[in-house]
């Protein structure tokens, strides 16, 4: 038996449960016979197995977050029937470890439908090709020795990129999502994690550190902006690691890289990423296929404001991200979506959702609410929102006010 088949492809950081590459291939074979066009995975492993199957079959799949509620899925225009529908695929018999690795490295013709926070209304679906998602994947005997920790949502771009990098090299992936601090440290040490990619909020959870992790060789930050002080502390926690900062979006995948806070355009993309009027713009050839993306002309404006540090070579800082979205620990919240949910409560006249700067998660979601008559208890409105929204979209502080504060232009202010 190929020794690569006996290796674990996945380890649950909490329980230590694991599954080998041989077992993954068997799962892919079984699932390909009834491939789901739309999938709401029940767990991280389920999500990754579904994605691996889609890669192996060169199929298409729309992936919902594991914690989307029924009403969130319905609001996106999908029904229970869509989730149940299966299509028989035929390419499964030829799936070998080698072919799976090649497909994960970008050879697969699969397309994945992912959800991103829309700038107006609801999240929108973006179709990404595996070839595009795997653009930053590197394959070599050296990379095959890595043990990766998965800290990102597997149905989002950053999580997919970690998965593809690990799968393309036949590496082990240790699931550390939603673990507490002690469990994260235990999982990193016990399973010998060498590569870590996560949001600044994830790393802040590990600080102040009472130990050093010398086994970690590579630390990547992404999803929200990281300050120099955090990076300094991470150098102490991971003395043997190279520390990188990446910029990626659901629409365009990885675009920028940095060591520290100053970004450069990723190698090979110099002609297709540019700065116009102080915002970062991406050429349409890099975009996934989504509503508005194709029609918006040759360049797509990400809405992220940048400040130029040097012109040649081009180096810059990211000053503000995506105008309206609120970044809660790396998860983007569309305030309009949350406001619509709160306003649906019978006792609510109007709601304003905003992010408040926070040293734990970057921003915390807060809401101002104008009540009809007697205001309900904060806990009651919170429970109402929890029943319909993913946990990170639920405002953690709700205040009842007489009037919503608005800006001079009459738009609702987003402090």
């Amino acid at each position: 038996m190929n020794p690569g088949l006996k290796k674990s492809w996945w380890i649950d950081g909490r329980s230590g449960a694991s599954e080998t590459y041989a077992e993954l291939l068997a799962q892919i074979g079984a699932r390909a016979a009834a491939h789901r066009h739309c999938c709401q995975p029940g767990s991280t492993r389920d999500a990754l197995t579904a994605i691996a199957t889609t890669l192996a079959c060169d199929a298409e799949q729309t992936l919902f977050d594991t914690d989307f509620g029924v009403s969130e899925i319905e609001a996106l225009g999908f029904s229970d029937t869509d989730l149940q529908r299966t299509i028989a695929r035929t390419t499964s018999s030829s799936v070998t470890l080698e072919s799976l690795k090649q497909k994960a490295a970008g050879a697969s013709r699969a397309r994945l439908g992912l959800f991103t926070s829309g700038s107006t209304g609801l999240p929108k679906r973006v179709w990404q090709t595996v070839a595009n998602l795997a653009r930053a994947v590197k394959v070599s005997p050296h990379h095959a020795e890595a043990v990766w920790a998965l800290a990102y949502n597997p149905t989002h771009v950053a999580g997919l990129q970690v998965f593809l990098q690990a799968l393309a090299n036949g590496c082990t992936l240790v699931d550390v999502r939603d673990l507490d601090r002690a469990a994260i440290f235990a999982a990193l040490e016990r399973h010998g994690v060498t590569h870590l990619s996560a949001t600044p909020s994830f790393y802040r959870l590990l600080l102040p550190a009472d130990r050093v992790l010398t086994g970690v060789r590579s630390v990547t930050l992404g999803g929200e902006s990281a300050d120099a002080a955090l990076i300094e502390k991470l150098r102490a926690l991971f003395p043997a690691a190279r520390i990188h900062n990446v910029y990626a979006s659901t629409e365009a995948g990885t675009l920028l890289t940095a060591e520290g806070e100053v970004f450069a355009i990723a190698r090979g993309l110099e002609e297709r990423v540019t700065i116009r009027d102080g915002t970062l713009c991406v050429h349409r050839s890099l975009l996934g296929d989504f509503d508005g993306g194709a029609a918006s002309g040759e360049w797509y404006d990400t809405g992220d404001a940048v400040a130029i540090v040097s012109e040649a070579p081009l180096r810059f800082r990211i000053v503000a991200r995506e105008r309206d979205w609120i970044n809660v620990g790396g998860s983007k919240v569309n305030p309009h979506e949350v406001e619509a949910v709160l306003a649906a409560h019978p006792a609510v006249v109007q709601a304003r959702v905003f992010g408040r700067k926070n040293s734990v998660l970057g921003q915390v979601l807060c809401a101002e609410v104008v009540a009809r008559g007697v205001a309900p208890a904060e806990a009651e409105l919170r429970e109402f929102a929890e029943a319909q929204l993913q946990p990170f979209k639920v405002p953690r502080l709700i205040r009842f006010v007489d009037n919503i504060s608005s800006t001079r232009t009459g738009k609702v202010a987003r402090a």
């Binding site: 507490d180 809660v328 620990g329």
Partner: protein, 78 residues
């Protein structure tokens, strides 16, 4: 410890559908003993900032209730 600080902890617990904390001391740890995750810690900091005007996690995360209470006491003196 400041009674309002303890009340804010219970507010966060109430939102998690947990009863008021009992037997907490200055050495009670936020994550290990109270089981606060990142979202809960963030909520607690926002509530403390609103009440006392101090960001208790500004210089890195803290572990125990006593450490937070000290920062609140320092801020109140200013």
């Amino acid at each position: 410890m400041h009674s309002d600080f303890l009340r804010l902890i219970d507010e966060v617990r109430a939102n998690k559908k947990q009863p008021p904390a009992t037997g907490v001391t200055r050495s009670t740890r936020l994550r290990e003993d109270l089981g606060f995750a990142s979202l809960d810690l963030a909520e607690l900091t926002v509530r403390i900032e609103e009440r006392f005007g101090v960001d208790v996690f500004a210089n890195g995360l803290v572990h125990t209730l006593g450490e937070i209470d000290d920062k609140i006491a320092q801020a109140s003196k200013k």
